[in-house]
């Protein structure tokens, strides 16, 4: 019985972390699936969002929800400016140029945040309602983790509805599966991409704010978690929302469990598993073979 509860609490903790990974990475997954663009700077938008959320709460007295909304909107707006002015020039460029450009953006974001806000970790205040323990009947668990899991599930269901039940979602699915054919049918891929990019960056911003509780929020954020975000996308299969969801949940739980049992070398297994998995299925668990 005690063992069972241990397993449940481990699963819950891992799922909470996984949901944050999912919320941050889902935008990256869709934009990569759409354009094949290697956007290594996606984490920079998550960090930007996190900082906006922290700063509006601290200086302008925004509430938690209002701050999340502000983070989403501002980050989405800023990302559109970047996408229209800079990213757009590199869609047909060789992959190396995309990598250089986005790594450059990562460095610039790290330096800019250090200069403007400072190098120290910024705690995100959690509203009182989400603090403390929640009674699940059979065990007490941190309310915030439960909240994160609920948010993650709501987000994936919302995205699923948007993807499967709207015209816009159908256009994205068509473009991910076959971009040229979708273009021939008159779907405006550029506009599709701008909107998706903005939405994905906004989601990343929310993930950055929500996840600051255990991922932290400091200028090194985009570099520190880059590999994790990429693993979620690659394992789930670029452009697959449910793929990213399952991959993030899996990695969250694995990471949590491994860190519990093998505190020092736990991450080793995640990298090794990712390599093995991508060898077995280069297109990811849920991606379609090219």
């Amino acid at each position: 019985m005690i063992f069972g509860i241990d397993v449940v609490s481990m699963l819950l903790g891992g799922l909470a972390a996984g949901m944050v990974l999912f919320i941050v990475s889902v935008g990256l997954s869709v934009t990569m699936g759409l354009m094949g663009f290697a956007n290594l700077a996606h984490g920079a938008f998550a960090m930007l969002g996190g900082y906006i959320i922290v700063l509006v709460m601290r200086h302008w007295g925004f509430g938690f929800t209002a701050a999340l909304a502000a983070g989403f909107l501002l980050t989405a707006l800023i990302s559109v400016a970047f996408e229209r002015l800079l990213y757009v020039r590199l869609y047909r460029a060789p992959e190396l140029d995309q990598v250089l450009f986005t790594i450059g953006l990562v460095f610039m974001s790290i330096a800019a945040v250090t200069l403007i806000v400072g190098p120290e970790n910024q705690p995100v205040p959690i509203p009182a309602a989400l603090q403390g323990q929640l009674d699940l009947g059979f065990l007490q668990y941190r309310a915030y983790s439960i909240f994160l899991i609920v948010v993650g599930i709501v987000v994936v269901l919302g995205l699923w509805l948007g993807f499967e039940r709207t015209r816009f979602g159908a256009q994205i699915r068509a473009a991910v599966d076959n971009r040229r054919m979708a273009e021939s049918l008159g779907i405006n891929i550029d506009r599709l991409f701008t909107v998706t990019f903005a939405f994905g960056s906004g989601m990343a911003a929310i993930g950055g704010g929500l996840g600051a509780e255990f991922l932290g929020l400091d200028p090194q954020y985009p570099l520190k978690y880059l590999v994790y975000f990429l693993i979620v996308v690659a394992v789930g299969g670029p452009g697959r929302i449910f793929g990213a969801f399952y991959a993030a949940a899996l990695i969250g739980v694995l990471d949590f469990a491994l860190k519990l049992y093998i505190p020092k070398g736990g991450t080793l297994f995640i990298y090794a598993l990712t390599i093995l998995l991508l060898l077995w299925r280069p297109q990811g668990l849920f991606g379609r073979a090219a």
Binding site: V106, L115, I231, Y271
Partner: protein, 337 residues
């Protein structure tokens, strides 16, 4: 020799048969390096750092510039080489420097071969991911094996036997280090230069330019790529070993993302696929880093990011590419004679 006489006269044929010839200006970087030894005896430590960086960038150039393998994890091999000589010397197993370099090359080559055999079956984003993962895996492994690698603290204060039994490594006056690194760089460079102009090197360029066509003409594309990746890994391993030997310590910074990103920046700054891009890039980058990063560390990072963005958007062939552009510009303005 077998080329018929009349086709030899054609400018294109001449350019093809003569492109591997050594030109007079190619002595210039080496003369400069020797002049540096006499002119700046107090900055030899910095000079050694530049030489090691050049060798590392050349190894990346072979994989990325010539064969078109986009990797973000080249520091894996640098670190493998550094830890090979570092661990052997630290635990008193082997501390002869030159054989140490050979061992480091062998270890890095084995890792390059093993990872290359599996990684190079993929392309694009997946390949990029897997190179990153391989490096992260090695970094975690080095972090995990505390008793052997010293983990986060690294292996400080390792010592090596004198080079050839004659020249001692003196941490305060790094004369031996500088000349030793210069000699190793020279050998490595001559090897890579010969390799690039060989039929093997030409086929790598072919694979980079058009993989499908190379398949069509019957070139063993994957084998070539794996061999190239292995050689590149071995040279990166030598660079890493050289770094460990000249600094007399090893730590986790030998195989982290920052080192991999730095060497990539050095290479693209100078210009990739150009052989001498590594030289220009390493000098430009390290001189800038040396002065700016100490004065304004944060602004330096901002400038570095901006530089990368500008290179990606406007100057894809680096500094040497800009020179080429200027030369072409002036040539086209000059009236034809």
């Amino acid at each position: 020799m077998n080329v018929p006489g009349e086709s030899l006269g054609h400018p294109a044929a001449r350019a093809l048969t003569e492109r591997h010839r050594i030109r007079a200006w190619e002595a210039f970087p080496w003369l400069l390096a020797i002049a540096f030894y006499f002119a700046f005896p107090r900055h030899l430590g910095f000079g050694t750092e530049v030489l090691v960086m050049i060798l590392f960038a050349i190894s990346l150039d072979l994989a990325l510039g010539y064969a078109g393998i986009i990797t973000l994890g080249h520091a894996a091999f640098f670190g493998a080489g550094a830890y090979t000589v570092g661990m052997l010397a630290f635990h008193g197993v082997w501390d002869e420097p030159i054989t140490g370099l050979i061992l480091a090359a062998a270890v890095a080559a084995v890792i390059g071969l093993a990872s290359g055999l599996v990684l190079l079956r993929t392309t694009g984003l997946t390949l990029l991911m897997l190179t990153l993962c391989t490096m992260a895996l090695l970094e975690e492994a080095a972090n995990f094996a505390y008793t052997y690698t010293g983990s986060f603290d690294g292996l400080p204060g390792i010592t090596f036997k004198p080079v050839l039994g004659l020249f001692e490594f003196n941490p305060l006056i790094p004369r031996t280090q500088y000349l030793y690194a210069l000699a190793v760089l020279f050998i490595g460079f001559v090897f890579v230069r010969a390799l690039i102009y060989s039929p093997f090197g030409q086929s790598l360029t072919g694979i980079r330019e058009n993989t499908l066509r190379m398949h069509a003409v019957g070139a063993p594309v994957r084998t070539r790529l794996v061999v190239c990746y292995t050689i590149s890994a071995a040279i990166a391993g030598v660079a890493g070993a050289l770094w460990a030997q000249t600094n007399l310590y090893v730590n986790l910074s030998a195989l982290n993302l920052e080192r991999a990103a730095t060497v990539l920046i050095v290479l693209v700054l100078g210009g990739y696929g150009r052989l001498y891009g590594s030289f220009i890039g390493a000098v430009a980058y390290l001189v800038l880093a040396h002065f700016l990063s100490q004065l304004y560390p944060t602004a330096w990072q901002l400038g570095l990011g901006l530089l990368l963005v500008l290179i990606a958007l406007f100057a894809r062939n680096g500094i040497l590419g800009l020179f080429d552009m200027l030369r072409r510009h002036f040539r086209s303005r000059r009236p034809h004679s």
